[in-house]
Amino acid sequence: MGVGLKSQHPSLRKERINLEQVWKRILPLAAGISFALAMTLKLWGMILVSNFYYQGLHLDIYASKVTGDLDELNILNHYIGMMNINSSLPEFKWIPYVFGIILVLCLMMAILPSIKVLISGTLLVLIGLGIMGGDFYYRLYQYGHNFDPTAAIKVPGFTPKIIGHYQLANFDVTTNLGLGGYMIILGVILLFAAIYNTVRLSRKTRSRVS
């Protein structure tokens, strides 16, 4: 790479550096777009298939709602005393705000793409995502353990896998991230790429100065 650069015309090299300067802003911006898409797309989903429910019962989690065959799932779940699954959980109110903060952070990083801003911004984004992820896992645990003691059928507690395939009573369960979930991962990768790019660029600039 270095050898290649040396052989290039100085004006070309300048252009390349300018391009890299642009990348510094594009990457955090792209991360922001990824998070924005994640905010509207399905984050996580579950499909339960049985002989009777041959078309599968779907449960889809979004940032602000849960959709799918909720009526049927709740009817089935009430036999084991599971809490009602619906969009009235407080998470669906505050998680969009966390997403909002993450978007603002990404925008800030795009405007001021210094190493400091990028690293601290990314850290804050990761904290936000960690809060959401932790809460999600907590809810999965809670729904799989806090059963109404008066329920007709007693089952041992369980926590669904985030991504996987397993058997739950007569159901064949498949869980997976939705497109939105993958957008979050992409956003994080883009942020790391932005940090990497900026660190590399500053080293280069430094070596040119010295």
Binding site: E72, I75, A152
Partner: protein, 626 residues
Amino acid sequence: MNKLKLGRNAVMAIILIIGLLIGLVGCNAKTPTNTTNQAAAGTPAAWVAPGQLDTHYMFASGGQSGNLIVWGIPSMRILRQIPVYNVYAPTGFGFTPETKKMLGDKTWGDVHHPIASQTQGAYDGKFIWVNDKANSRVAQVDLNRFETTQILDIPNMVGFHCLTTDPESKYLFCATEFSLPIAEGQKNAYAPLQNYTGEYYGIITALKTNRDKVQPGQPGQVSISYQLLAPPYEYDISSAGKGAADGLVFFTNYNSEMATSDIEKNSTTLPLDLTLVVDYNAAQKLADAGTYDQVVNGVKIIDPRKHPGIAYLLPIAKNPHGVDVSPDGKWIVYSSKLDPVVTIISTEKLKKAIASKNFEKTTWGLPVLKEADLQEAQIQVGVGPLHTQFDDQGYAYTSLFVESAVTKWQLGSWKVIDKQPVNYNVGHVAVPGGDSMKPFGHWLVALNKASLKRFLPVGPSYPVSEQLFDISGSSKMTLVNETPSEREPHYASIFPANLIKPISVYPKDESRPNSIWSEDKAKIVRNGNQVTVYMLTIRSHFKPDTIEVNQGDHVTIYLTNIEQQPGMTHGIGMSGYNINVPADPGQTVQVDFTADKPGTFPFYCTNFCSAMHEEMAGYFLVKPKS
């Protein structure tokens, strides 16, 4: 003509012999019955593997069961019984106030002629209309819900055999089987039989379907438009014209002799019977203009003798039974019960004769057409022809009752192509769309009146049979399936499956009057001695599940099944009060009764809904009067 007469004598002899043979078979159980019949039933053409769907629906009359029976073709599996004229607990028909009102005081109906609603002459899969021959009623069956949504009593008629509709299904037509006197305020009016020719009338009824005003699932709005007086013959089949014959409706009848006793003998003396042809547009125009001759029991009655241009008489060979119009309307096919021929009348010649008033004479005040001038062909189809249906390849299929066979013949060439035996005594045949302008062909079901030894013996009351033929081949018809059936499967309409699009659950409609959709809305409201219960069901409980009233209270339960899972039907069955009302997912049903018996009455879910179905029960308590 002489030659023909000789032929008829010979045929009468054949009828006699075959009649004797049938008698022998009936008397002597040891007589082999399958000697002339195919053993090919159950070939792969009719095989529908488990989990696979049939390609066609057949809506067949369930005869005196009062039901319309829905079959899958080609498997011949019964998919559904739709109650029309009788109480049917599995769907709660006759247990809810509206179905009780529809049925009235009758406990049976003779379901005869289910006909399919049409648009531009093709089956549209929206409605079935079906008559009750015994009690002169017409019902509308909604194919969006597979349920009866209207039963209409037709005054001035006692018994009618058949129903027919025009290509746009704006109208239905039917004709009385038993001519009777008509009188205000009476269904079965009196007049001495000596006065038969003067005081007895055949009645033709034209009904308006008003189908455009009816949303899916809403009550039918079929209404009587007018009635026509007709000669006091006994009317059989009615068949509305289409295509070239649009605007005409054809009736067959026997007993032009107007015999009133020993009818079997006395109604067969004439070689030709006078069948009726009606220009229904002309008649409707009069009715719409408010021109009619009398009003009896609320129905405008037009006497066609006073209004030329409405009705004509067409002589047809001996006791004609079926009349069927070819898909393009060019040919009217009459089947003569006691003559081994079908007579083809040319619509073009018929219209010309009417226009030029080329009449032979006047009988009963109506012009009689010259049959010989209108006849296109007579086809020797076999003994005892009854009914004809058509396929999409230009072939016609005529049932032969006496001969127990179906004859395939070609329109235009008038050649007989094939004849296959059936088991036994076939009445109607049904081809998908076979009575419309757009037949679909491929299958033919013979609706037989006897099964003899085709099925395991079940005692002296035999089932009848329905047999499926594959008619997709160019010449030979092949028997591919058969099934026993309720007696009797009179007529059937067969649809390609994609034409029928029923709902799978009742949609959740929170604005529906008296429905509740959440447990906190469940309540019992007392207003004087009227107790109204707003109840819901969901796996696996009723809410409320305890109802306590005082003896003598009138109780109304509005039960909403708040489920949306297809097939998750619940029901409320209560011992001691003769109550069973199922509620399909999303449906609100009503139960109405007076709590006149004191005591404790458990009620339970009558549809096995879940593992905790048995636990789905409650108590209805009636406090005794002190």
